[in-house]
């Protein structure tokens, strides 16, 4: 293969190859070309999204580390910070779900570990096709096991997450993992290399041939037929190795033995060493002959781009090298000095002392051209949508059909495969509340974490849908009494070189920026995953928003249950509409557009609910989300084992003249609060709409909306809500890990 076609096979365009030759003054050799192809890939260089991301608000009084570091971090007081980030591992999971998901968790944990933080929680945002195909069963089974395998074995609790099932994810599932960690603010480490003559130490797993080209071949191209052949580009996870690596890093940092620390993720040594040198303005020499190998005959380019997991790279002063190697030995972690920091500005690859490649750090890390997109709004709805509910279904039938909808139904069968309590911080577990709550004795307070992103609504309106995802996260925090501190996000989209996808991406980022500004919640980090596309078309545009918030007292979180005799109130400017709703999906009537929403009144409602929960005046609070008011009431009835009687006439009168909208419509800005009537009435008069709509009673869920009436037994509702497990039971069961 000539160099001319070699660069194309590695994912570089002819123009990019010419640019590289121009910068180098010659054609790159094999090692150099492999390194450029990875760091100039979409996955590493963000070449199609970086310009748009500049619009996001990234500053705030609590921000300690923002975008550009391994993870973002916010101050929680008393000398501590919370570090967090969400990242995708979509294409590896499409090709090999168990290892793809496991290494996705392993990778995001290392990002937080590299900051000097101890991970304290994992959340996952997953997307699959409809749950009735063999492929979906296979993917769900592997992904859920993979997440559990890694997180459980590491001893990091998986405390929350969400799973949606929609046709456009059938071939291209999404696996986004978020990690939250805690660190002493003054001991957090940055990734910048420093100090000419300092040594570069690689520690952790052996370097093998796994994951070669993962970032360029898998993550930066569309999926298509024959992807089974790409299975060798998926890495294999070893959580035991990472568990030792975590403890080892914590002791290395506590002993003040490191100048800087970086994890090896996508593009392996090339990316971590290159980015360390770039951030520090230094040069770096790496001798591949010193790298401990799994297979002896690896070529220099393979060593430089291997994505073998569970490896870290540290810069160490020469006098501390022995102490570092001794601590690694204590933790039975392999370690080796593989290079040195220089003042040349050059990334030099040596093999047993002989130069094998030489690239200017700046050309490699910052030289990739950034592209403007060519957006164009599609004229029509472009996604498949089939009718799946009887046209003449009664309101009660619709209510049951919504509760059984795979995206709404209980995911307990999945969450129970995750250790949610290790670490002794978990106040609210996955599924027990809209947001997970973790006790933080270090600050004497607690944090709440939520993750959300309804791709269907974003497909209807990328701007509005992304605003809603952000408001949904803030609402999830509010119902446990927390206020937002910072935001992370993972932007999962199709091929940005296509005008329709480019338009979705731009509009979604605009929405995210607008909502974060309005909530004063800075974006401190994130990840972009493009080319989520198969010959059947792109995925729903899916910005996944992760939010970390703070609450004063872990002992004072509203419970998830209401009690017989409680009054029920609807709070907020909620204006329900069937546009983009679960019911519209089931009727096969999805189309473009969502109603516009003003953010300020929603924020006011969020703050009122947060304060009411903090004040202990409500028994339970939840936000109205997928499936509308009926679904929200039914879910509370199911978890509490007590029914309710509600009348939505006041909402119809005020908001909408359509009873069906009131029963099943969706949209932001609605909260259900239950508790003592006098206490709920006191929440009025603060400029936020409050309607008393009913009371908690009996063993039936009875909701009237003018002529329409939902009347179902709590146990019927529960059976529908719990029906997903049987549908999803894998045909592949038996593969144990």
């Amino acid at each position: 293969m000539s160099e001319q076609s070699a660069h194309r096979a590695l994912g570089l365009t002819d123009q990019e190859f010419e640019l590289i030759c121009g910068k180098m003054g010659r054609e790159p050799n094999g090692v150099e070309l492999a390194m450029f192809s990875l760091l100039w890939s979409e996955h590493c260089a963000y070449k199609h999204s970086r310009k748009l991301l500049k619009n996001l608000p990234t500053e705030g009084p609590r921000v300690v580390m923002g975008p550009g570091e391994n993870a973002g971090a916010v101050d929680i007081g008393n000398g501590y910070s919370i570090a967090f980030k969400v990242e995708s591992h979509n294409h590896p999971s499409a090709v090999e779900p168990f290892q793809g998901a496991a290494t996705g968790v392993g990778g995001i944990l290392r990002d937080v570990i590299a900051l000097g933080a101890r991970p304290i929680a994992i959340l996952d945002s997953l997307r699959f096709g409809e749950p009735d195909t063999e492929r979906t069963h296979y993917l769900v089974d592997g992904v859920v096991r993979g997440i559990g395998h890694y997180g459980n074995c590491m001893g990091i609790p998986t405390v929350g997450g969400e799973i949606y099932f929609e046709p456009p994810y059938e071939q291209n599932p999404l696996v986004n993992a978020m990690c939250v960690g805690i660190a002493r603010t003054d001991e957090m480490v940055r990734a910048a290399a420093a100090g000419t003559g300092n040594k570069v130490v690689l520690f952790g797993s052996l370097t093998g041939r796994d994951g070669i080209g993962g970032a360029s071949v898998l993550a930066s191209a569309e999926l298509d037929e024959g992807d089974d052949a790409k299975r060798p580009t998926v890495q294999i996870g070893d959580p035991f190795e990472e568990s030792k690596l975590l403890e080892c890093c914590q002791e290395l940092l506590a002993g003040d033995l490191l100048v800087s620390l970086q994890d090896l993720g996508a593009a392996g040594l090339t990316s971590s060493a290159g980015e360390m040198a770039s951030a520090g303005g230094t040069g770096i020499d790496i001798d591949v002959g010193l790298v401990p190998l799994r297979e002896a005959d690896m070529e220099p380019f393979e060593i430089m781009v291997s994505e073998s997991q569970e490896r870290m790279l540290a810069v160490v002063e020469p006098g501390k090298v022995d102490a570092v190697l001794a601590l690694c030995a204590k933790w039975q972690t392999r370690s080796a000095v593989i290079g040195e920091i220089t003042d040349t500005g050059t990334f030099r690859i040596l093999r047993n002392g002989d130069t094998a490649g030489e690239i200017e750090v700046e050309d490699l890390v910052d030289g990739c051209p950034l592209y403007d997109l060519d957006p164009e709004e599609p004229a029509d709805w472009t996604y498949p949508n089939r009718e799946s509910i009887e046209p003449d279904a009664s309101p009660s039938d619709i209510a049951l059909s919504l509760l059984a909808a795979p995206s709404i139904a209980s995911k307990r069968w999945a969450f129970e495969q995750y250790d949610s309590v290790v670490g002794s911080r978990t106040v609210h577990r996955a599924g027990a509340a809209d947001a997970a709550v973790l006790s933080i004795p270090e600050s004497g307070r607690a944090i709440a974490v939520a993750i959300d992103g309804n791709g269907r609504r974003v497909a209807c309106d990328p701007y509005q849908g992304t605003v809603e995802a952000t408001l949904e996260c803030a609402s999830n925090l509010a119902v446990v009494g927390a206020e937002p501190l910072g935001v992370t996000n993972c932007l999962n989209f199709g091929n940005p070189e296509k005008p329709g996808v480019a338009w979705q991406l731009g509009r979604a980022i605009d929405g995210l920026a607008e909502a974060c500004r309005a909530l004063e919640a800075p974006v401190v980090g994130g990840n972009v995953s493009l080319y989520n596309e198969t010959p059947q078309g792109p995925i729903y545009p899916t910005p996944v928003v992760g939010m970390v918030g703070e609450l004063p007292d872990p002992g004072n979180v509203a419970g998830g249950n209401w009690r017989e005799g409680d009054s029920i109130a609807l709070v907020g400017p909620f204006d329900p509409s069937l546009a983009g709703s679960e019911l519209e999906k089931q009727r096969g009537q999805l189309g473009k557009g969502l109603p516009e929403v003003e953010i300020a009144p929603v924020r006011a409602a969020i703050e009122l609910v947060r304060d009411a929960v903090r004040g202990g005046v409500v028994r339970t609070a939840t936000d109205v989300s997928d499936g509308g008011i009926t679904t929200a009431l039914a879910e509370l009835a199911i978890s509490s084992g007590v029914g309710c009687e509600a009348d939505l006439a006041p909402i119809i009168a005020r908001r909408s003249d359509n009873p069906e909208d009131a029963l099943f419509g969706e949209g932001p800005g609605g909260f259900i609060l239950a508790g003592d009537m006098a206490e709920l009435e006191k929440l009025g008069g603060q400029g936020v709409d409050i309607e008393l709509i009913g009371e908690v009673t009996g063993n039936e869920i009875i909701i009237t909306a003018n002529g329409n009436r939902v009347e179902i037994l709590v146990e019927e509702a529960e059976a529908a809500f719990d029906s997903l497990e049987d549908r999803i039971e894998s045909d592949q069961a038996g593969l144990t890990h």
Partner: protein, 279 residues
């Protein structure tokens, strides 16, 4: 009551177990009727690298980083306190009880507990147990104790082959063990169940003997057996009663915010038993 909590490469729950030991220790030291306010006894942690070690009130607890050679504790003037015991450490002097904690020692890649049982510390734990010292094995620690032959039976992969994690109820058994001094036989307690290989198994003869000798410490409450354990057994003791292993996680049920403090009495048991015997 000074506990040593074993730490193997790959352990997960050792800090949680140590946290439970420290809370039990403090609650017993200040036993003045404030037993209900357990969550407020938890110290503010000053170093996330060691969520319980470097608290100012607990100096003297072994710090992992100072512990490379297996030395721990006794580093300051204050009284010794419960601490982690590195797997290469063999000197257990000064410890009143041992916890073998949960997690995935050595990744459980071979068979749960099969490698950890060969650690130098376990040789000392076997001697400690033979001398009558209280030894508690939780989850992976239970598996390690069974692998070591310190407890009868074996733990097999769950019937459904999947990891499960849920809050559930246990019924306290009739076993005569110092660990159960804080419970009544027949009492129901709420603790998290979480494991992948928790199905208790013993050959018929051994099972009969375990039952006949009243060695069952805990059973899953009716209808809540999560893994197919024989006779709903969740925990057993050795014949002498000083070694107890259980699959569920009492160390995650010691603070009010978690929803249950039912696990705390297990960590108070040996001290209560000693006090009871002395009185």
């Amino acid at each position: 009551m000074i506990w040593g909590v074993l730490q193997f490469p790959g352990s997960c729950d050792e800090r949680d177990a140590l946290n439970a030991c420290l809370i039990a220790e403090r609650s017993l030291n200040s036993r003045d009727g404030t037993g209900g306010a357990l969550s407020s006894t938890r110290n503010v942690v000053e170093d996330p690298t060691d969520p319980v070690f470097e608290s100012s009130e607990q100096s003297g607890v072994g710090h992992g980083a100072d512990d490379v050679s297996g030395r721990g504790g006794g580093l300051s003037d204050s009284a010794p306190s419960s601490r982690l015991v590195w797997h290469e450490e063999t000197d257990l002097s000064g410890l009143d009880g041992i916890v073998v904690p949960g997690g995935f020692s050595y990744g459980d890649y071979l068979r749960a507990g099969a490698i950890a049982r060969f650690s130098p510390a376990m040789t000392s734990v076997a001697r400690f147990a033979a001398d009558g010292g209280p030894v508690l094995g939780i989850c992976n620690g239970f598996q390690v104790l069974c692998e070591s032959g310190l407890l009868p039976g074996a733990l097999l992969t769950n019937e459904r082959t999947r990891f499960i994690c849920r809050q559930g109820d246990l019924v306290v058994g009739e076993a005569d063990s110092p660990f159960l001094a804080g419970y009544e036989a027949g009492q129901t307690i709420s603790v998290p169940f979480k494991h992948q290989s928790g199905r208790f198994f013993a050959p018929p003869e051994l099972l009969e003997q375990i039952e006949a000798d009243n060695q069952v410490a805990f059973r899953y409450a009716s209808g809540q057996n999560p893994n197919g354990s024989l006779n709903d057994i969740a925990g057993v003791t050795n014949e002498a009663g000083n070694v107890l292993g259980l699959m569920p996680h009492p160390e995650h049920a010691v603070e009010a915010f978690s929803g249950s403090t039912d696990g705390l009495a297990l960590f108070q048991g040996p001290a209560l038993a000693t006090a009871g015997a002395g009185a």
